[in-house]
Symmetry: C2
Subunit: 303 residues, 2 copies
């Protein structure tokens, strides 16, 4: 879905939050896992069914206050094919509840292979005379290290099916700068700036009615100076901002990712919401809702 | 599996080839797809079953002459959860036939998420008191744009379970250089060189009995000068060389990726082998075997 539609849902709920669904089994209450293991035995199928039940509980608790969900594919893949089936079912359920689904899979490859990833997560695939949408995300995270011909197939499907992508620009992790902060001779710009410029250039013909292109950028909250710099440089780029909360980014740190109208960015929290029950006690879904409301109110104070 | 074990299998078969299994449905003979569609209807399940049958046929035709197989995850994922199950079954079957399995998924993420990907493709995951290997590849391709803390979790599992990874250094596609060829101020080195150096540095304590570290490098055959430069600079790094054949790399272009002893590299061909039947006529498996023998003999001439 285009970013203007995401922005409208954010405006409606007055909440620029995306909840990161990271189904590390350590975040799943033991009672849910035990129930499925007693039915299906100790195995990846039971774990995947438990993760689905847990995700549905979170979506039900969050969908009227949080506009978007970001399932982290890695944790689903770690449960094998059963886990990938749970990823698909979870995406379907979240969309049925009105949430904007960002599949966080950080895919990237060369032309024809990138096109296959795009078909999987954003597009369609034809078998015989029938056409299917394998995962049907609203958006997908993408890694642009291979250059523009690794990104253009995603942009192509995004345009065709009214979807979007977020490409990694400046990530939130401690060693992000090892490559991303290198300064290039000639332009004098850092690698992450060059990536951002490249993405803006190849997507400049895809602006929606609010002026956002179909290629957004992942820009970590843990580097607020870089975030402010990129915000000014890339006015048509929607930002996905990880690193708030557990990773150390504050509300003030994320505020700089928004444009002067307070739009154009969405802030992710994963553990701070989905694992809130471990600190607060009580049910996991209620604890997640309370944490999401607290985050929303904190963001309202600075955006 | 460590690269010395891969090298021994290469030496045994006198063939430094890996066959890339890219199950684009256009490469699957219609008779196989039709058979499964008549049993299961036009859908992703039928397509995934057809891809499995096709892969088994290729593995049977190749396993006594080709040491390694590189399933391209993107095309399996494009068939949804059924396709991912076929990926797992295909990896299992190839390993049972003695092939070294490189899962080409180009994963990369920050710490805990990278650890989940490592568990999925190289390591183990625990459910209750039982432990499972979800995909159990011998090696995995990885994208290092996030820096060392996005790579170290893969190295950790590689050490623990006797596996290996190949990180993208200089890819084979036309736009590879847009970011990878930028020259960094200070060192005066290109980004791909800095990536190669970083990977060599963090894996230097993981050398096997032949002197190969557990982090290999993807170095495209389409840039032979850069390949020769990296070969000299990274003596302990095993190279995975895409770009031979359909993408334009010649036997002479790939020869420079090998060390002076003619070891330390494996050359990929995908379409040139798996889709050989479209040019040659005849059965797809026999055509693939003939093409693989021709490639082997061509490589023997230059390595």
């Amino acid at each position: 879905m285009s970013f203007s539609r995401l922005q409208r849902r954010i405006d409606q709920l007055k909440n620029p939050t995306v909840v990161g669904l990271d189904p590390d089994l350590a975040h799943i209450p033991a009672s849910i896992l035990d129930k499925h293991m007693s039915e299906h035995g100790e195995g990846l199928e039971a774990a995947a069914l438990a993760v689905y039940e847990w995700g549905v509980g979170l979506i039900d608790a969050l969908c009227d206050i949080v506009p978007a969900l970001k399932p982290q594919s890695a944790f689903y893949e770690a449960l094998g094919p059963h886990g990938v089936l749970t990823l698909k079912k979870t995406c379907d359920y979240a969309r049925s509840k009105g949430m904007y689904v960002i599949i966080d899979a950080k895919r990237g490859d060369i032309g024809s292979t990138a096109a296959a990833y795009a078909s999987a997560y954003l597009g369609r695939i034809t078998v015989g005379n029938s056409t299917f949408a394998p995962f049907d995300g609203d958006a997908l995270t993408v890694n642009a290290y291979l250059g523009s011909d690794g990104v253009l197939p995603f942009l192509s499907d995004a345009k065709q099916y009214d979807k979007a992508i977020f490409a990694l620009v400046k990530t939130s992790n401690p060693s992000a700068g090892e490559l991303q902060d290198k300064v290039a001779q000639g332009s004098g710009e850092k690698v992450y700036t060059l990536v951002g410029d490249l993405l803006a250039e190849i997507s400049k013909d895809s602006l929606d009615d609010m002026g956002f292109s179909r290629i957004g950028a992942v820009v970590g909250a843990t580097y607020p100076e870089e975030s402010a710099f990129l915000r000014a440089r890339l006015p048509n780029t929607f930002f996905l901002v990880p690193g708030y909360g557990a990773q150390g980014g504050s509300a003030a740190d994320v505020a700089v990712a928004f444009n002067p109208e307070g739009k154009g960015a969405i802030v992710n929290s994963s553990r701070g919401i989905i694992a809130a029950w471990k600190k607060s006690g009580g049910g996991y879904a209620d604890a997640a809702r309370d944490a999401a409301i607290a985050m929303r109110d904190e963001l309202r104070g600075v955006v």
